[in-house]
């Protein structure tokens, strides 16, 4: 019996070694991730005695401020329903999200730049104060975008970027909710099918549909030897790829120029182009436009999704096996492609900016309580997507989309808008996903936009009018 008892002790030792290993893992290796987990409220609790910094909009109106109750500072949000998913919450029960989470070190005054002030505050026995955050959010544009979605009563998102800097002028996710009602409505907010807590602009993955033809077009112009006026034979208007038939939204028999095919969004032509370019080129240009990388925006990384091709719910690395049918579908933005509205806005921004994609940002300045600027965000390049001349060519084609093609809903008599629409079928008895991705003014791009509407009207034109209103608002009309 002694032998088996000794073995039982060995087993016990192994079990306890596993306990020690797991304990060391949780306390030393995983501790950082646990501390950063948005559900972890202990940091929020510890920091409730800090006079937390304000969050300001670009016009200096307050987005988040404090209310002091019995030694604790609680947050209130004067424009609570305007951008709840972006501002985020700072809640003792539910943790932190959005800018309240990503800018927490500044807001609590624990970041290096504000440490010294706090040192003196502590010395003098004053309560610790956080730094203020001035965002790039323009409340007027934000409100225009939000009411655009609210008016049609559909779920969706809008992202508006400054073409030259990458500053986020508006980031809207509808349905919205009021940050001040978070505690009262928590259960309902969590249960709701419409997921109001989700930031659809950065976390919503949508099928790009025809808006993806921007990428296919860039690849065709730069590497496929295509020109906008080139005639392409569209046969009888359908395309058979190994027995799979590609259709169009209406009949397009005969020859079409590349530009016409773009403005009328002819799938069969683009499927042909895609097959000619091949998987590698298509994926190369997806990467040049920032897909397969998480956009470097100043939100918590967990609230920003990566765009690209998703297979079984996981991002498929470029170069994964694809057959001809899949390549043809990819060229027209189907085939398991999933993109965020932020990513599509960045694509429009890059085209408007002569091919240079900027790093998107929400925080313009960090200011101390005397309004002295502690930190100023300097716009910086994220990547070079396409050549300047390609950008110019594409701008012309995108103008055509608005003036003569599918993007008529965004047409304006006051400013020339350039863009590309997309109507992605999602199946399941739901309406399509409608896109408008573009910028304005076409001859001197200032503002880029991406609008997406879920379960849209069958015609797929829900997005263009919203893009129109938002661009005009951002340009000050």
């Amino acid at each position: 019996m002694n032998r088996s008892i000794r073995r039982l002790f060995l087993v016990t030792t192994a079990l306890f070694a596993a306990l020690l290993a797991m304990l060391a893992y949780q306390q030393m290796i995983n501790a950082g991730a646990l501390a950063e987990n948005p559900h972890n409220t202990r940091k929020v609790y510890e920091q409730m005695h800090i006079d937390r910094g304000l969050i300001l909009a670009s016009d200096n109106s307050e987005l988040a401020k404090n209310r002091k109750v019995g030694g604790f500072y609680y947050r209130t949000y004067p424009q609570g329903d305007l951008a709840p998913q972006v501002i985020g919450y700072n809640d003792i029960n539910y943790g932190q999200t959005g800018l309240e989470h990503s800018e927490n070190d500044y807001l609590t005054g624990t970041a290096d730049e504000v440490e010294l002030t706090n040192f003196f505050d502590n010395l003098l026995g004053r309560p610790q104060t956080g730094a203020n955050i001035k965002t790039t959010i323009n409340p007027k544009v934000q409100r225009t975008a939000l009411s655009g979605l609210q008016k049609i009563g559909k779920s969706g998102a809008v992202v508006v970027l400054d073409v030259h800097t990458g500053a986020v002028l508006a980031m809207v996710s509808n349905p919205t909710y009021d940050l001040n009602d978070l505690d009262a409505d928590w259960v309902q907010l969590n249960k709701a099918q419409s997921a109001p807590l989700l930031n659809r602009a950065t976390e919503g993955l949508y099928t790009p549909g025809s808006s993806f033809k921007l990428i296919t077009t860039a690849a065709a112009l730069e590497t496929g030897g295509f020109t906008p006026d080139e005639k392409i034979d569209n046969g009888n208007g359908t395309l058979d790829v190994n027995g799979n038939v590609v259709h169009n939204w209406k009949d397009f028999p005969g020859d079409y120029s590349f530009s016409e095919a773009f403005s009328e969004s002819i799938n069969t032509v683009f499927a042909q182009i895609g097959l000619k370019l091949g998987q590698q080129k298509l994926e190369e240009y997806q990467q040049k436009f920032g897909l397969y990388q998480k956009p470097p925006i100043d939100l918590p990384p967990g609230e920003v999704d990566t765009s690209g091709r998703y297979v079984n719910g996981a991002l498929a690395a470029p170069g994964s096996d694809m057959n001809q049918v899949q390549v043809a579908w990819m060229a027209i933005g189907q085939e398991d492609l999933q993109v965020t509205p932020l990513q599509m806005a960045l694509i429009a921004q890059a085209i408007g900016n002569g091919g240079v994609m900027m790093k998107p940002y929400l925080v313009d300045q960090v200011l101390d309580r005397n309004s002295t600027v502690i930190k100023q965000t300097q716009p910086s390049e994220w990547m070079r997507s396409i050549r300047p001349e390609t950008a110019t060519t594409m701008t012309g084609m995108m103008v055509d989309v608005v003036n003569n093609g599918t993007g008529f809903g965004a047409r304006s008599s006051r400013v020339q808008i350039a863009g590309k629409t997309g109507t992605a079928e999602v199946g399941g008895g739901k309406g399509p996903t409608a896109w408008f991705v573009g910028f304005a003014p076409a001859d001197n791009p200032q503002v880029a936009v991406a609008v997406v509407v879920s379960n849209a009207d069958e015609s797929g034109h829900d997005s263009s009018p919203i893009a129109h209103d938002v661009l005009l608002s951002a340009l000050g009309y």
Binding site: L8, F16, L23, Q26, L34, A35, H39
Partner: protein, 448 residues
């Protein structure tokens, strides 16, 4: 000799306990009164009393058992006191009851091997206690588990006592039947099997384990009982086939339970991913992990962790019972919590050593069974609260709040003390006899 070593071992334990209570007091002096420091004195008193009792009643008992369990109990009550001083008072009372039962067993059950004659009676009582709980049990904390029995004003958890009684039964049964169970009379699917009729009582214990699981919705105690059962069968027969069959059976039952019992399904899903529902069903485990992670290497310090919400309630439900390890890991860090795990390893080491040293089958199996119980129970709950294994609600022996747990663990401990005392007394006697016999020969050989 053993008692002098025990006295020396008690010194660091008393010092650690005193430092612990003093730091809780220092960190939370605004909330708690200095009178509470009396718990330190209480422990000193218990240590002295137990030591004195052992000096008289079991002078040769293992000198490490009491310092180890003493320190565990001290850490437990210190943490409970830090969470809620009023609970600490109740726990202190239970501790006194536990030590009382411990003393009674040491004095009145000196000849513990007599238990071997009553194993069937004890086993039946053990099972009856479970049946009573299944029939008349109440769900005290709304967890969906009916573990408790209300008798008058006192609430007890009969499962804790069943565990001890069934361990005694198994020790007695397996030690008489081990030869028979080791022989092969037939094969089942190629696996050599012992005579069927001797398997009956064992199948009963197996059935009881799963009956507990299915009827009481209770994962922890049923798995624990089954683990003790398998370990003891292996200890008795030395055949890996038994635990192997057991693992197959438990996997089958576990799979069945996963698909039919909501609570089992939930526990497994939460283990795989507590974050999907971290504010509701995964809340307890998520908060436990946050607390553990917050501890880091050295911990926040006693009384300084974020264990209580602004309204004074614990952040983690069941913090003082099942989740006390999370509280310890937060406030004492990796250093302190590893220390606690190592204390449990030492306890099971002493237990298994007592089993190996014992010279009769009943004592060996009883000591092994008790040690397996302590070890597995510790593994289940500590592994559960830090997401190593699915969470099964069970107490951390000697540390968690809970009268039944404390009292039954002290009863088990008393049995270990008695077994070691018997073995060591006999050895001492043999050595003394050898010494008495030796000088004659030595003198004869020495040149005069």
């Amino acid at each position: 000799m053993e008692r002098r070593r025990e006295a020396v071992n008690f010194i660091p334990v008393v010092l650690l306990t005193a430092v612990g209570f003093a730091s809780v007091y220092a960190a939370r002096s605004s909330q708690i009164s200095a009178g509470s420091l009396g718990y330190g004195l209480l422990f000193l008193g218990i240590f002295v009393a137990v030591h004195a009792i052992l000096r008289i009643a079991a002078p040769h008992a293992d000198p490490y058992l009491m310092p180890i369990t003493g320190l565990l109990a001290a850490m437990g009550i210190m943490m409970i006191y830090r969470i809620d001083p009023s609970l600490a008072a109740a726990q202190a009372t239970w501790l006194l009851v536990g030590v009382g039962l411990f003393t009674a067993i040491i004095i009145f059950l000196r000849n513990y091997r007599k238990l071997d004659d009553y194993i069937y009676l004890l086993g039946i009582i053990g099972i009856l206690l479970l049946v009573v709980t299944i029939v008349a049990g109440t769900d005290l904390n709304g967890s969906g588990v009916r573990l408790w029995l209300k008798i008058g004003g006192i609430v007890i958890q009969p499962g804790e006592f069943s565990k001890v009684l069934i361990t005694i039964f198994l020790a007695g049964y397996l030690h008489t039947k081990r030869e028979l169970l080791s022989t092969t009379t037939w094969r089942f699917a190629g696996v050599p099997m012992p005579p069927l009729k001797h398997l009956g009582p064992l199948l009963t214990v197996w059935g009881v384990s799963f009956g507990m699981l299915l009827l009481m919705n209770d994962l922890g105690p049923s798995l624990l009982l089954f683990g003790i059962f398998l370990g003891m069968v292996y200890a008795a027969t030395g055949r890996v086939t038994y635990p192997a069959i057991g693992v197959v059976l438990i996997t089958a039952a576990g799979t069945f339970a996963y698909f039919t019992k909501a609570i089992v399904h939930l526990r497994v899903d939460l283990w795989l991913n507590p974050w999907t529902d971290a504010t509701n069903k995964g809340y307890q485990l998520a908060q436990s992990l946050f607390a553990i992670g917050d501890g880091g290497l050295f911990g926040t310090g006693l009384g300084k962790g974020y264990l209580l919400a602004p309204n004074g309630n614990p952040i983690i439900p069941a913090l003082h019972t099942d989740f006390i390890f999370s509280a310890i890991a937060e406030e004492l860090g990796l250093v302190g919590a590893s220390g606690l795990i190592i204390l449990f390893l030492l306890l099971s080491y002493r237990g298994f050593k007592i089993a190996v040293d014992a010279d009769d089958g009943f004592s060996k199996l009883l000591a092994a069974g008790i040690s397996i119980g302590f070890a597995l129970q510790t593994f289940f709950i500590i592994g559960g609260v830090m997401k190593l294994i699915p969470l099964t609600g069970i107490t951390l022996p000697f540390v968690s709040y809970g009268g039944s747990s404390i009292v039954s663990n002290f009863a088990s401990l008393a049995l270990l003390v008695l077994i070691s005392n018997r073995t060591n007394s006999q050895r001492a006697r043999t050595a003394r006899e050898a010494r008495l016999a030796a000088p004659a020969t030595a003198a004869a050989g020495r040149p005069s």
